[in-house]
């Protein structure tokens, strides 16, 4: 469904962030992208929806070559790619509902969005999604009144209301505590399974990635150095990705507790 073909990004400063990245992601697959800071993880997912312009290579989504689209067609293509951010990136002075509905901006005209006259079907869907992430009672709160975990749930709802085929997820748990991190990862993976969405999740926490995804891609200095199942990450491979370190503690099996989702949905 998504195909990256020799994707390369060189910044104006001369730093090469990505070098000939090849990646095929089938429909419905959730992929974790791991690698040290500066390996090019953020650049990679921003090159897919062209928040960052790739230098060369192609991004093909369902047969459409995104890298060749003009401004209007790119906007239409962006609607099919939901993005979730590290620091949530909610517009803080807007309400939760406005933040969720902003996911429909690609579908409605300027004046409708300016006066917040969204179609009833969009409003219904927004309430359904807020209920799904456990925040329907917060609809009229301002985004900056929410806790970190709640904000990320709003971010997830904003991405899903776009009706995407692909989720681009940039460090979703980096600003969250360990328990909330797991709840958020579980929520993202469940929603992907429910809706048959493919996802690329940038993540620092290797153990967390192993817990939830079917496939791991390791990036080092802008090149793919590992692509395989999560349990194939041996200490040797982690050393290759991150450098020398004692890895036994990191890849030790972590007990997954199931009771915290119910709690999380109320919180």
């Amino acid at each position: 469904m998504l195909h990256l073909n020799k994707l390369t990004k060189q910044y104006a400063t001369g730093d090469k962030a990505l070098t000939d990245v090849e990646l095929q992601i089938p429909k419905g697959q959730v992929v974790a992208l791991i690698g040290p800071s500066g390996a090019g993880k953020s650049t990679l997912i921003r090159c897919i929806n062209r928040l960052v312009e790739p230098t060369s290579g192609a991004v093909v989504l369902n047969g459409t070559e995104l890298t060749r689209l003009g401004a209007g067609a790119l906007r239409k293509a962006r609607r099919r790619m939901g993005m979730i951010f590290q620091e949530y990136a909610l517009v803080e002075r807007l309400t939760v509902m406005e933040n969720v509905l902003s996911g429909r901006l690609g579908y409605v005209g300027f004046w409708r969005s300016f006066f917040r006259w969204y179609p009833q079907s969009d409003v219904d869907e927004a309430f359904r999604l807020l209920e799904r992430v456990g925040l329907d009672h917060m609809a009229d709160k301002r985004a900056d009144e929410l806790s970190g975990g709640q904000r990320q749930r709003v971010g997830i709802a904003r991405a899903l209301i776009q009706d995407p085929e692909l989720l681009l997820v940039d460090e979703p748990t980096a600003s969250l505590d360990p328990k909330t991190s797991r709840q958020i990862m579980r929520l993202i993976c469940e929603l992907c399974a429910e809706r048959g969405l493919a996802a690329i999740i940038n993540i620092h926490d290797v153990a967390l990635a192993q817990m939830f995804v079917q496939r791991v891609v390791g990036l080092q200095l802008g090149e793919v150095v590992y692509d395989g199942p999560p349990d194939g990450l041996s200490p040797d491979i982690l050393t290759q990705i991150y450098g020398e370190e004692d890895w036994e503690a990191t890849i030790a099996k972590v007990e997954d507790d199931d009771d915290d989702l119910a709690e999380g949905a109320v919180a």
Partner: protein, 269 residues
């Protein structure tokens, strides 16, 4: 114990701003000598000051019995003109400043637009209100139209510049997230930028309203209408009681505006 360590203690002083001691002391001495010489060149005609003191005293005493009544029709006409000038010029200035402010923000405008808008702002800021008013009075004649145009023009330089700077310091991730949804440029501004700068824009507009009112009192002195013209006439006729009344009114209005803008800004955020 401390006696042993005393000899090993390292001294620390904040490094001086100018490292070279000769340059440092030289500059200080130069500044002092210049100050003394500069004061020496001031020519003060003490006899004139003595005479003037009496007039100053009368003017200040006039505040104890400001005369609102005898020129009330002139004062009220001037006040109404000033208020209309202030409100219309602030409104016009805000409306023109918003697109120019957007264009002058480096993070959202393309380079040619950026330079054009920064150029407009620079011109507006380079020319003082009085100079603009003199020019516009020469073009449009005496009266409040020249004052209105002057204040609108001055508002652009102030508001567009500060709005652009506020836009440049907005949180990028919030606007990036809006862009990623497939929003158009206008939607992006409305959802990603506007909520972040709105409180400051409203605060600055209120502040500018306040400035424009005070300026409108000055502009009358060069013939651009408003309460300033009335004030000027009162001075010319040595009617210090009337002048005092006008100044009291200006002070009350400015304080009321200050209080109002403080209240509005506190309710934002």
């Amino acid at each position: 114990m401390s006696a042993v360590l005393a000899s090993e203690r390292r001294k620390w002083r904040k490094p001086p701003f100018i490292r070279n001691p000769l340059a440092r002391w030289g500059l200080i001495v130069f500044a002092l000598v210049y100050l003394v010489l500069a004061i020496g060149t001031m020519e003060v005609n003490w006899a004139r000051v003595y005479e003037g003191l009496e007039r100053g005293k009368q003017f200040i005493l006039a505040f104890s019995h400001p005369d609102f009544a005898s020129r009330w029709s002139d004062i009220s006409a001037g006040m109404i003109e000033s208020i209309i000038m202030t409100i219309t010029s602030t409104a016009a200035g805000i409306i023109i400043s918003i697109p120019i402010g957007l264009g002058a923000a480096r993070n959202i405008a393309p380079l040619p637009v950026y330079y054009l808008c920064r150029g407009i702002i620079a011109v507006s800021r380079a020319l003082h209100e009085i100079i603009v008013a003199i020019l516009l009075v020469a073009i449009f004649g005496f009266g409040p139209l020249a004052g209105f145009l002057t204040l609108s023009f001055a508002t652009i330089g102030f508001l567009a510049k500060l709005l652009a700077e506020d836009i440049e310091s907005t949180d990028r991730s919030q606007s990036e997230a809006v862009k990623a949804t497939g929003a158009s440029w206008l939607q992006w501004i409305n959802y990603g930028i506007q909520p972040q700068v709105m409180p400051r824009l409203i605060g600055l507009s209120m502040y500018r309203l306040d400035i424009n009112f005070r300026e409108s009192a000055i502009l009358g002195l060069v013939g651009a209408g408003g309460i300033g013209a009335t004030l000027n006439t009162a001075f010319d006729r040595y009617e210090f009681d009337t002048a005092a009344a006008i100044i009291v009114i200006i002070i009350v209005v400015v304080m009321a505006l200050e209080y109002l803008s403080g209240m509005i800004r506190a309710r934002l955020q």
